[in-house]
Subunit: 370 residues, 2 copies
């Protein structure tokens, strides 16, 4: 590792200081480093594989009130695309190997294998060796998130960005869409490019439609791909809350306030009537309380509580993935473990220890000082 | 200040170290110190007035599931009393003066004046000079909290504890009730003393009744007054949330998770049906979202947002109180300022700066990284 990392990342820090913030991991016998949290202005998820740099995907600002946020954020044309609810993956080809990086810069063996199977990206990387594909991995069979999309049977990868791997500079929207088409890569849905004022109206219509179909939301982008803004549906706010309050002591505290705030500003921007707000409020309450009650009852019965996922792949990949989670300190509860042809299909629960232990403590008469 | 504070508080710390955690304040030309946060195991709210010590009122554990918590907490008879929704005040007589300490140990000039007017406690303190009265100050006219109790027209002080001022040791429940009766002091409602098993049933019945009347909850106590447990109604959880989400960016984040958890465990302990849980959930959602929407709309209209209180008293006391709040950095918006006989009656709003500023920021198109 002989490169001048300080000047590459355009930071003043001593290279050794910089590198000590990176975690070291191994993938298929190869050592690499990744940055789990933003440091010195370098994006979270930035990874160093040998001399190759894979820049993290930047966090995207969120609008709470769409119209003024679009007006303040964009000066020129605005492209609108669907925001999918999966997990953010960057795919790069380094020394001939396709590698899939999760948001934190971890090279996920399961995702890498899925991407190898899903993507025919050799032609793209032959022509664009210095670029990476940024996309959403979605579908029911993945070890991180679960959201059903009717069009995705097992797993799908939808490109929403193509960036220079080392600098992170995005390709413009039109060119990126063209590259996806040329190389046969799936893209997220693109709803067209509009003036900022028109973009607000189109985004609102799309949000209504996506909300009705229980999908997540939209991303608005400047045509050079450099400026982006996300805005989400009430359906995803409720889905997030349901998910969080299934494991209240693991996720509830962080999730609930932000989602309530999104709902409140959305109701105000839409100028909703008292009756509509009441209905929105009631649905919000149901999304919060009902899963929490179900989970407390499950703990009371002694059932395992946690996030349940199904993964499918060659036995080695599945074994590696499960070991990786266990090495991270996760307690796994295997619900089903089957063989389908030459593939192993495992349904497992990442046991939510905090929710299980705290719930049990209160059910047994534990008290709280608040 | 020549006393050996370390040995008095039974801590190892150097007296100078101990004292530096205390804030210095003045009341009617007299300097005193108080501890705003627990330190070295000394209760928050402990105050030093000259050589006199006024121990803080200890924080009280809360049951989330009543039956097991009562079983785990109590071995002998359990007294049940009403928990009122006002603010915790300790009244002590020091060098002949009645002083009223708020939870943090601040000698509140307004509360002191109210207590002087309300309480005829001279006989009590003549006979018990080393004790203090611990009670709840309730009623619509106070500068801290507002909860309407039909029996309280302006302000009331209800004793729930009598403690040794320096050691904090509580008087037993029966004796305390007897002292209140003897000296004509109002007490919180006492519902009797029971075996732990019977106490659970009585507390549940009382909670149902208090909930139906929108009151806060119960406190269960060992007869020596040393062990206590609180448990609250769904009505107060919702009222807390309504209050918090009127000022979401000031209080919402801290309040919402804890109240949701209380509701969830209460629903489980009561074995509620899906329909009842759904109703509880809907009411919870309404308590959260509706006030947040109202506040965003108020900020949008340019109306002041914050907690509104009415105070009544002699002009000097009212002026002192308002200066005290302003000195603390609070921005006050005076809604009404009238004279009623020789009393000044002021209705003011403690402007919720965080809610106002953040709401305005988002309404003007500000974005958020999450």
């Amino acid at each position: 590792m002989s490169r001048d990392w300080g000047s590459l990342f355009d930071v003043d820090a001593d290279p050794a200081d910089l590198l000590e913030h990176f975690d070291t991991e191994w993938f298929r016998g190869r050592r690499y480093r990744h940055l789990s949290d933003e440091r010195h202005g370098i994006e979270r998820g930035t990874a160093l594989v040998g001399d190759a740099v894979v820049r993290g995907y930047p966090s995207m600002p969120r609008a709470l009130v769409l119209e003024p946020a679009v007006r303040e954020t964009f000066e020129g044309p605005v492209a609108i695309e669907e925001k999918l609810n999966g997990y953010n993956v960057r795919v790069a080809r380094i020394d001939g190997d396709l590698l899939a990086f999760t948001r934190s810069g971890f090279v996920c063996p399961y995702t890498t294998r899925k991407v190898e199977a899903l993507l025919d990206a050799e032609a793209f990387f032959d022509d664009h060796p210095e670029h990476m594909l940024c996309g959403e991995l979605v579908g029911p069979e993945n070890p991180y998130t679960d959201h059903d999309y009717s069009e995705v049977e097992e797993v799908g990868f939808y490109v929403f960005g193509i960036r220079h791997r080392e600098s992170g500079t995005p390709m413009g929207v039109e060119r990126r869409l063209d590259r996806c088409e040329t190389y046969g890569l799936d893209s997220v849905d693109h709803y067209g490019t509009y003036t900022p004022a028109a973009a607000v109206d189109v985004a609102r219509e799309r949000i209504d439609d996506l909300n009705a179909r229980d999908r997540e939301g939209v991303v608005l982008k400047s045509t050079d791909g450099k400026t982006a803004l996300k805005y989400t549906t009430s359906a995803i706010h409720r889905a997030d809350l349901e998910h969080a309050f299934e494991l209240p002591f693991d996720y509830g505290r962080d999730f609930v306030f932000t989602r309530v705030i999104r709902e409140a500003f959305q109701a105000v921007e839409r100028g909703e009537s008292p009756a509509t707000i009441r209905e929105r409020a009631q649905e919000l309450g149901e999304a919060i309380l009902q899963p929490a009650v179900e989970t407390i009852r499950a703990v009371d019965r002694g059932d395992p509580v946690g996030e349940t996922h199904t993964v499918r792949g060659d036995p080695k990949t599945i074994a590696d993935l499960l070991s990786y989670f266990r090495d991270q300190g996760l307690e796994l509860h295997i619900e089903r473990d089957e063989t389908d042809g030459n593939q192993r299909v495992v349904t497992f629960t990442k046991v939510a220890q905090s929710t299980r232990d705290k719930t049990r403590y209160y059910l047994e008469g534990g008290t709280i000082d608040e």
